[in-house]
């Protein structure tokens, strides 16, 4: 199952579908999602709650709940020795070696990710020794201190503290340092700044941008805050009802969204530099994910709906020159520029 390939991208999510078993039937949380991420690229996964973005990201680290199963697709990761492996085919043991060392994930409930009864330094030591047995505590603590200082924390104080002694922003930054300790090449952040206030959030974003340059890792982050996207992402992947509906470079995404849902999302954010008293809002609510109707899932809410939209799911259309693709029968081609 393992293929040798040197020029392949760092990580490829290829046509992945994930379903949850529920009392009412199978819930297709993700349907045929494909995303490619290159070295040092940063990708934002956006969409409403229940669109499958967290499910998709969690599948990468093999931490899906028991009720979920991956029904199709491949997760191709290029290892340090250029060997490409499908994460879904790896044994649990092999996957565990790869995680943290190559792929690290910081979960959404990051405030409660630390073990509350162990000092922070113990958790740094445990993480490293699980992968590199013969590292001495002293060596590990030196590296930990360095990382904690990079994330602007008082290393001595934090290492000797219990998690409850740290504030939300401090915990978030300590977790970032912890995720970096084995020098991973891909970091997945689920809602990195929710539960943080505006000023701390701005600091964390600035920090992530700096760390990305310094350590050269790739980043996948999940958010529903488009403000963060514009600060941190190179590329935006929009999901709706389990499908990727648009994938575009950040600047073009905001300037010229092609998918009506993307445009709706962008228009629905209040901005400071905006005088209008009316903000657009997408009518209706997201569809039921168990009783899926034929056609485009966004059609019932879409202002540009055609009769075809109710019958057939649009395929992903690529525009190679703009490095983007979208799934829409009636994409937006002319824009009222909003500046």
């Amino acid at each position: 199952m393992e293929v040798m390939h040197t020029n392949s991208p760092l990580f490829q999510i290829e046509d992945v579908s994930i379903a949850y078993k529920t009392k009412r039937g199978m819930l297709k949380a993700v349907s045929g999602a494909s995303v490619t991420i290159s070295e040092e690229e940063s990708i934002a996964l956006i969409g409403e709650s229940g669109c499958g973005k967290t499910t998709l990201a969690t599948s990468v680290v093999g931490a899906l709940p028991n009720a979920a199963s991956i029904t199709q697709g491949r997760l191709l990761f290029r290892k340090r020795n250029s060997e490409v492996v499908d994460l879904l085919q790896l044994s649990k043991k092999d996957l565990r070696v790869l995680l943290w060392q190559d792929i690290a994930m910081v979960f959404q409930a990051s405030q409660s990710s630390f073990n509350p009864v162990k000092r922070v330094k113990t958790q740094f030591i445990d993480a490293v020794q699980a992968h590199e047995r013969n590292r001495s505590n002293k060596e590990i603590l030196e590296r930990s201190s360095k990382l904690l200082e990079i994330v602007m924390l008082d290393a001595d104080k934090v290492l000797n503290a219990f998690p409850h002694e740290l504030s939300g922003g401090m915990k978030q930054r300590a977790l970032l340092a912890l995720s970096l300790i084995l020098n991973p090449r891909l970091i997945i952040l689920d809602e990195p700044t929710t539960a943080l206030d505006l000023i701390t959030q701005a600091k964390i974003l600035e920090l992530l941008n700096r760390l990305k340059k310094q350590f050269g890792f790739s980043l996948i982050f999940i958010t529903h805050d488009l403000g963060i996207v514009s600060e941190l992402a190179d590329r935006v992947v929009t999901m709706y009802a389990g499908r990727v509906v648009e994938n575009a470079p950040t600047k073009s995404y905001f300037d010229t969204p092609r998918h009506p849902y993307s445009k709706g999302l962008i228009d629905a954010i209040p901005r400071l530099s905006m005088d209008s008293t009316h903000i657009y809002s997408i009518p209706g609510t997201p569809p039921d994910m168990i009783d899926i109707k034929a056609g485009c899932p966004f059609a019932p809410r879409c202002p540009r709906r055609l009769s075809r939209c109710d019958l057939e799911m649009p395929p992903l259309t690529s525009i190679e020159t703009e490095k983007r693709n979208y799934a829409c029968w009636n994409p937006i081609t002319e824009w009222e520029r909003h500046d």
Binding site: S230, I269, S273, T285
Partner: protein
Amino acid sequence: MTDLIKLTGLGKAFSQRHAPAVTILRDINLSIGEGEILCVLGESGCGKTTLGKIIAGLSSYTSGSYTFMGKEVSSLKGQAWMEFRKGVQLIHQNPYESLNPALMIFDIIANPIKRHEKISDTAELYKRVTKLLEMVGLTPVEDIVDKYPSFLSGGQRQRVSIARVLAMNPKLIVVDEATSMIDTSLRVSLLTTLRDIQEKLGVSYFFITHDLALGKYFARGNKVMIMYLGRVVEEALTDNLISAPAHPYTRAVISAAVGSSNILERRIIAKYTLRGTDIPSFARIPAGCPLHPRCPEMIPGECDRIVPDLYDLGNGHRAACLLVKKDQI
């Protein structure tokens, strides 16, 4: 315009068994007239939710005065207290926890009407519930009334909360981060519903948020108050505050909200950041101006000694900063 509620020098301290009392709110002065909106903005832990709870009558205050329609709230008893509690309602932040999961939507909205208006005729109640659900945009009503909260999305649940609150014909609604758990695409329509209700019924809002752009949108034409460590540091009309912030803390908040890329806001403002990252704890509030350890424009010898008052900048714009006072002399 007469003031619906008025807070004068209001303070709140929590006593602790083994340590001195911790003061959460200090010297809060504000008033809300009928049909007005007051937006309160601040970081988590600045005391804005505590203030909302005091205004809704769910928490007591330990100093100063709070009057509702001219009467001191802490001295209200019996019928008058009931009237106050009906008159000021609260919409909670989390719609997944604020609705009883074992009750149908009909009962959630009908129960308070039964309790307060002693109506038990089901047909009459159904009429009332229908009207309320229509007002918050949950239609068709027949599909909603016999559902349990777990069948509804976050946005729909929050609409049920609004309908439940409206059942009491309140004069003031405290909206505590009511949209922070709701998806972007549904957030704006929820706010629009709240504004429509205001136009129809003339209620006032005390709107608590940490999202500056959202506050600006919702409270357009009204006042915003910025809080830091339990004090009001600046207040102004929304547009004045955004275009001419006077307090260093407000400037840092605006700078953070605009961000450093010009993709979203399409403008770049000079970056303005505070020193350090962490908010001091309430048990150890710095002497003098509470912001001085983080303030980039701190005047040594003054800011760390003198607690600034709110200085008037005209047009209802006031800021608690010695720099503002200096400019005026």
